[in-house]
Symmetry: C2
Subunit: 166 residues, 2 copies
DNA sequence: CCGTTGACTGCATAAGTATGCAGTCGACCC
DNA sequence: GGGTCGACTGCATACTTATGCAGTCAACGG
């Protein structure tokens, strides 16, 4: 009886709605859940504040004070952080890496002279589960993977970075 | 008439209270403002939820959901980030920097061989207002300051880092 | 000394968010 | 078909946070 528009179309309604919420929040203009409800209605999602509250919790969104403007919902630090770190890594690999080669658990990355610490820093910052640690010389970074499968995943991930992730 | 313990002692009461709040929040066990009020009472700060609300806004604290545990207040990303960056910079300067010299707007930092990119990265990460940009060679980082006063501040800040900031 | 000002706070309450409960719906099983 | 289960949602309301207003106090100037 609450049914007015969602019922038959609602197969993946929740996922779509949450994607819409993320988009709206990225826009940086959402200050309250009621505002979000209003925006969602404009986009033909029939929801109430209660549902939005649950979505926001599931998405891990947080509310921060942005100076004069009052409260705004934003993406969680973890996500922003990850995006930044990924950018940095992509850049570093793009600009300074000559080659990547894996020998068992060890990855050997050749860089331009003097750039190894930079690349290693970018790797560290990306906090790959697969990586136990890195050591940077002058133009070589040694990456120690946690296991063979990890090493393989890592190799795939690193060598496909420049194209795939942008 | 609200006066019970704070009045005469309250000269810098606000600052102390806010420091206490930061400490408590760092502990990671504060879920609501009322909890914070209770903890503060234990530490002999006589405050109400209203004041704590204002403090929290001033301190830029945010509330996040931490899985099962429900909501928790945490330090803002900016602060955590700044702490991390400062650590990194201190480390980098400590470990790899030979000398720092300023010539007008230009800072010339000599590092151990190959470490210049690392140091430059740490500087970039610290987002000093004074710095327009950095260029890293192999064992030298060039820092371009935004103005003469900026250059002076920067010099003071960098040369006093190892001792002062820890 | 007295009035003015600005910082700080509590009280009461408005504003905003979370949640117990019940209803709907599709999937699955008997 | 009817029963059960789990995911999802709205409603009403509890819970939590923000804020308008007024009071207190220290600092300052006349």
């Amino acid at each position: 009886m609450s049914a007015s528009s969602a019922p038959t179309l609602s197969i993946t309604s929740k996922a779509k709605r949450q994607r819409a919420i993320l988009d709206l929040v990225r826009g940086g203009v959402i200050g309250t859940q009621e505002e979000l409800v209003a925006e969602l209605h404009q986009r033909h999602f029939a929801v109430t504040q209660a549902t939005v509250s649950r979505d926001i919790r599931e998405l891990g969104l947080i509310r921060v004070y942005h100076g004069e403007a009052g409260a705004r919902y934003v993406l969680p630090m973890a996500e922003l952080d990850a995006e930044l770190a990924a950018d940095r890594l992509r850049n570093a690999v793009d600009e300074h890496v000559q080659s990547i080669e894996f020998v068992d658990l060890l990855g050997v990355i050749h860089t331009n002279p003097g750039c190894a610490p930079l690349v290693a820093g970018a790797l560290d910052g990306s906090r790959f589960d697969e990586i136990a640690g890195t050591i940077a010389g002058d133009d070589t970074v040694l990456v120690i993977a946690r296991s063979r499968p990890a090493a393989q995943r890592l190799q795939r991930r690193l060598t496909s970075l420049p194209d795939a992730s942008l």
